[in-house]
């Protein structure tokens, strides 16, 4: 029984040990305690998707996860998408080149969701891309550039025919 708990969590490859209030969300933990503010809060009830991160290899809403539930977990946020030498993830590069972001607030969740889509479905058609992204709301772009960026990455990553 506790109102605070010590947790061990790996975020973007780095291990942390922190004491957190049990009512603290994973989103607030990442943002306020680890100072990784790339993950955004748009609704705090799981609908907008801006807070989406990767937890133990699967996308999850960090606003709907208590920080204490992440004890022992492996988390990846937008800040962890870069490779060790600082190169952007291909999805980040594609978003940039296709103007797939305007205000940038939905972008962290969009990237995580898009990356997961291509991992599960490397050759999606446009409808499948839109369906996979339908849980990430964007108010600026009208989605077209985002869809184009995801399809472009899928094409790039297609194995070259011999």
């Amino acid at each position: 029984m506790a109102r605070e708990q010590r947790i061990s969590v790996t975020v973007n490859g780095k291990a942390y040990e922190k004491t957190v209030p049990v009512r603290l969300s994973l989103a607030d933990f990442i943002r306020e305690h680890l100072h990784l503010t790339g993950t955004h809060l748009g609704c705090e009830h799981g609908v907008c998707g801006a807070c989406t991160i990767q937890m133990n290899g699967r996308s999850a809403r960090s606003c709907l996860t208590l920080a204490v539930q992440a004890d022992g977990a492996d988390i990846v946020t937008i800040e962890g998408l870069r490779s060790a030498d600082g190169t952007r993830h291909p999805m980040q590069q594609a978003f940039h080149e296709h103007f797939a972001l305007q205000c940038g607030y939905c972008t962290p969740g969009m990237l995580i969701t898009a990356i997961e889509l291509l991992r599960n479905n490397p050759e999606p058609n446009e409808q499948e891309v839109r369906e996979a992204l339908s849980g990430n709301l964007c108010r600026c772009t009208g989605y077209q550039a985002i869809v184009d960026a995801v399809l472009a990455v899928a094409r790039q990553q297609r194995p070259v025919e011999g």
Binding site: G42, C103, N136, C138, R139, T141
Partner: protein
């Protein structure tokens, strides 16, 4: 001065990749909630659970005693210390509304702020809010503007008889005569539901005391930093030059973040009082009630046409439910005056009459949101035009062609006193119909007659709309009709730094429009400086000269125009000093890729060497040739620049569920000289997406007691990637009369989209003799329009 233009790559017109987007795509943006200052407190507000009530007593004792709570502020604490918001002067005011930052004796809408709790963290502040005890005396609520204007209605403000916050009657041309002589008149009543901008990032403020040399420093998720600074200083009785306002990365604005709200001002007051930084972040539950709403119109409209279907007169009666207060800055006039006054759009309307009212109700105040009154107005007129087309058996596109103001008639003064010039309404319509293969779409639709109008079991509908959007308003045109606020002049500063790089500064913060990139592109072309040598400051009153801010589709016109103006002077200075240093006449010089050079490149001087000499070896230069490389120029385009377009939407409706799917969408736009095509495309498609949301999905609902029924994102539905089709976008651009030929493009497309989709739905229903007059066209309303469900009482 050399006539030879630049031989380096022309930046304007190219989809230059925006460096400003890189921090955002890498997760290193600095949005309001990312800002953390030492010793910062957090604020939560107690908000009214009643739509209308007297505040008898507030007991915050338990709240104050909660561990971690610093302070609880009430409206009474502020009396006499700060100026409340009195509605902005407007020529068409009904009465004056006064809004206290924290309610004092009355609350007038659900969600109105009553107390501010300051605590060490947000969760504790929210805990404390729950401990505040308030004694309310509920009062009857006004929730319908048509009832609210009656003599027997309760008053929201004692100073506003019949709850009119704004009203205006207007007539130009012989309207009665036109209706009498008309070949056909059509009349309809439309109801457009309440909306809100739904920025992904809601509002927020960090206020700090004595941060650097400023008494008060404000970070605010806001579109108009200088305007905020002015009013904060005024209301807090501080000298304006002791206040600094910064707009950090902002997650959407769309006009919702262009009003002045009480909460941020309370933050400022508390920072000064507590001498500590304070932060308030509006959560989504608050945002649904505390940030301005939009639309919410009842539109009675009548059209008179001749036997060719040409409009001879337009008459409307408009009621707008403007909510509990006249929003500060813009007044309650925005929606009512624009809905009625801008209804003619791009069509020739020889005679116009309207009576419009903004009626106060006990709901969230209504403020500006992308295109304000025009989407609802345009949808109403376009639906009427389609009815004319049906009755006179004229094709809807042909009918619009007959009514659009053609290029050869321009400049054309419409009955609403706006002068249309330099805009391609008709070419856009022709382009849209050609690209959509409109004739074939209609032919296919006719062929479906045999099949009960069904294609794959769905009812097919086609909608067309044409819009006019007045952008980049100069001093001769009011942004907020009737307001005494005249934002027609903005400044840009250009400064060559000691190392020869260029800084552009303009108070035009971006919420994703890539204003920084656009101004860099214009500056690069105007000065011959490499794009990578140019940076741009836009979001800070301490580093940018005066600018009204990002609003009303003005930044392309103002930012670019001012850059061009300032660049002319700066270029003159560069070439004059270059002539001296290179010992050639200035007329023989140009600037290419950041190098001053003779046209034949026989003599060259990199800018960085020139500036080094100018800054660090000034004694070697005659003073008259070294006035400094900083130029500030104010630009007033005087008039507005019309943008325009034509949209075609094709929908399939499921006659069993009422679901509307958009199967094709074609848009042809005139947005003037384009700076960055990809950015423009993003703005247009984004606007279309919001328009589709307005037409089909989004609605804020209240019950009869003034209680909001749409309280979260599970209730207020914005389009996802599945609701927006691939948009086919084309251009028929023509330059504006503004400097550089630029036009704004931020708001036009939402006008086109709401109207095109509304018309497409109505067109589909009309195949079965059905009709729709209330929007959004929810599946339920569609089925009611088809007669599948009974109409509500």
């Amino acid at each position: 001065m050399s006539d030879a233009r630049f031989v380096n790559l022309r930046a304007v017109g190219t989809s230059v990749l925006p460096d400003e987007a890189i921090p955002l795509v890498e997760g290193e943006g600095r949005f309001l909630n990312d800002i953390r200052l030492p010793g910062m407190y957090h604020i939560a507000f107690l908000r009214s659970p009643h739509a209308h009530a007297r505040l008898r007593a507030i007991d915050a004792t338990k709240a104050r005693e909660l561990s971690g709570v610093v302070e609880v502020l009430t409206g009474k604490d502020l009396l006499g210390k700060v100026e409340p918001f009195r509605s902005m002067p407007n020529r068409f005011s009904g009465g004056e509304s006064t809004q206290h930052w924290l309610a004092v004796d009355k609350v007038r809408f659900c969600g109105e702020a009553i107390c501010a709790v300051v605590a060490e963290d947000r969760a504790t502040a929210e805990d404390a809010v729950e401990l505040i005890e308030v004694d309310y005396e509920p009062l009857p609520a006004v929730t319908d503007p048509r009832l609210g204007e009656r003599d027997d209605a309760p008053l929201v403000h004692d100073t506003c008889p019949n709850n009119y916050l704004i009203k205006r009657e207007y007539e130009r041309g012989d309207v009665a005569g036109a209706f009498k002589a008309a070949h056909l008149t059509v009349k309809r009543q439309f109801r457009i539901g309440r909306k809100q901008a739904l920025c992904l990032e809601s509002r927020g403020c960090v206020a700090a005391y004595r941060e650097s040399t400023f008494t008060l420093m404000l970070w605010m998720s806001h579109q108009l930093p200088y305007v905020v600074r002015h009013y904060v200083a005024e209301h807090l009785r501080l000298p304006e030059n002791e206040v600094r306002v910064i707009a950090p990365h902002t997650g959407g604005g769309f006009g919702q973040k262009a009003s002045i709200y009480p909460e941020e001002f309370v933050c400022a007051y508390l920072a000064l009082r507590l001498r500590r930084p304070v932060k308030w972040v509006e959560d989504r539950l608050e945002n649904m009630v505390a940030s301005t709403h939009a639309r919410d119109q009842f539109i009675d409209v009548e059209l008179a046409v001749d036997r060719d279907g040409c409009i001879t007169a337009l008459s409307s009666d408009v009621w707008v439910d403007v909510g509990a207060y006249s929003t500060y800055l813009w007044s309650a006039g925005m929606e009512p005056l624009q809905t009625a006054g801008l209804m003619p759009g791009p069509y020739k309307v020889p005679a116009l009459r309207y009576r419009t009212r903004g009626v106060a109700t006990n709901k969230t105040p209504v403020g500006p949101y992308r295109a304000v009154g025009r989407p609802s107005a345009s949808a109403s007129l376009e639906l009427l035009l389609d009815e004319v087309a049906r009755r006179l058996e004229i094709d809807p596109a042909e009918l619009r062609q007959r009514n659009l103001i053609p290029p050869e008639a321009m400049p054309y003064r419409n009955a609403n006193n706006l002068v249309h010039d330099n805009v391609n309404y008709l070419p856009c319509l022709k382009l849209a119909t050609a690209k959509a293969d409109y004739a074939r779409l209609r032919a296919e639709q006719r062929e479906l007659l045999a099949n009960g109008h069904l294609v794959n079991g769905k009812l097919r509908g086609i909608g067309i709309s044409c819009y006019a959007e007045l952008t980049g308003l100069g001093t001769t045109t009011a942004v907020g009709p009737g307001t005494l606020l005249q934002p027609g002049r903005d400044a840009v500063t250009l400064r060559l730094e000691t190392s020869g790089v260029l800084t552009v500064a303009a108070a035009l913060p971006s919420q994703g429009q890539r204003i920084i990139t656009a101004m860099r592109q214009v500056a690069a072309d105007e000065l011959g400086i490499r794009l990578e040598d140019i940076s741009c400051l836009t979001n800070d009153t301490a580093t940018a000269p005066y600018g009204f801010g990002t609003f009303a589709s003005r930044t392309a016109v103002f930012g670019s125009g001012a850059v061009i103006q300032a660049a002319r002077e700066l270029r003159h200075r560069i070439l004059a000093l270059g002539a001296f240093l290179l010992e050639v006449p200035a007329e023989d010089l140009t600037i290419v890729n950041s190098v001053v050079q003779t046209i034949d490149r026989s003599k060259t001087l990199p800018l960085r060497e020139m500036t080094k000499k100018s800054y660090f070896s000034a004694k070697d230069i005659p003073p008259e040739l070294n006035p400094g490389f900083e130029v500030t120029s104010f630009y007033d385009p005087k008039f507005g620049s019309f943008a325009g377009g034509a949209h075609i939407a094709v929908v399939d409706i499921d006659p069993q569920t009422g679901e509307v799917k958009i199967v094709r969408y074609v848009a042809a736009e005139d947005v003037g000289t384009v700076i960055n095509p990809a950015v423009v495309e993003g703005q247009i498609i984004g606007g279309i997406a919001q328009g589709i949301g307005e037409a089909l999905l989004e609605e804020i609902l209240y019950d009869d007691a003034g209680q909001p029924r749409t309280v979260s994102l599970a209730d207020y539905l914005v389009p996802s990637a599945l609701e927006i089709p691939r948009i086919e976008l084309y251009h028929a651009n023509t330059p504006s009369g503004a400097l550089g030929g630029f036009k704004g493009c931020g708001e036009g497309s939402i006008i086109g989209a709401v109207a095109a989709v509304a018309c497409a739905v109505a067109d589909a229903l009309s195949r079965r003799g059905g009709d729709i007059h209330e929007f959004p066209a929810t599946p339920e309303r569609v089925l009611t329009g088809l007669g599948v469900l009974p109409a509500e009482a």
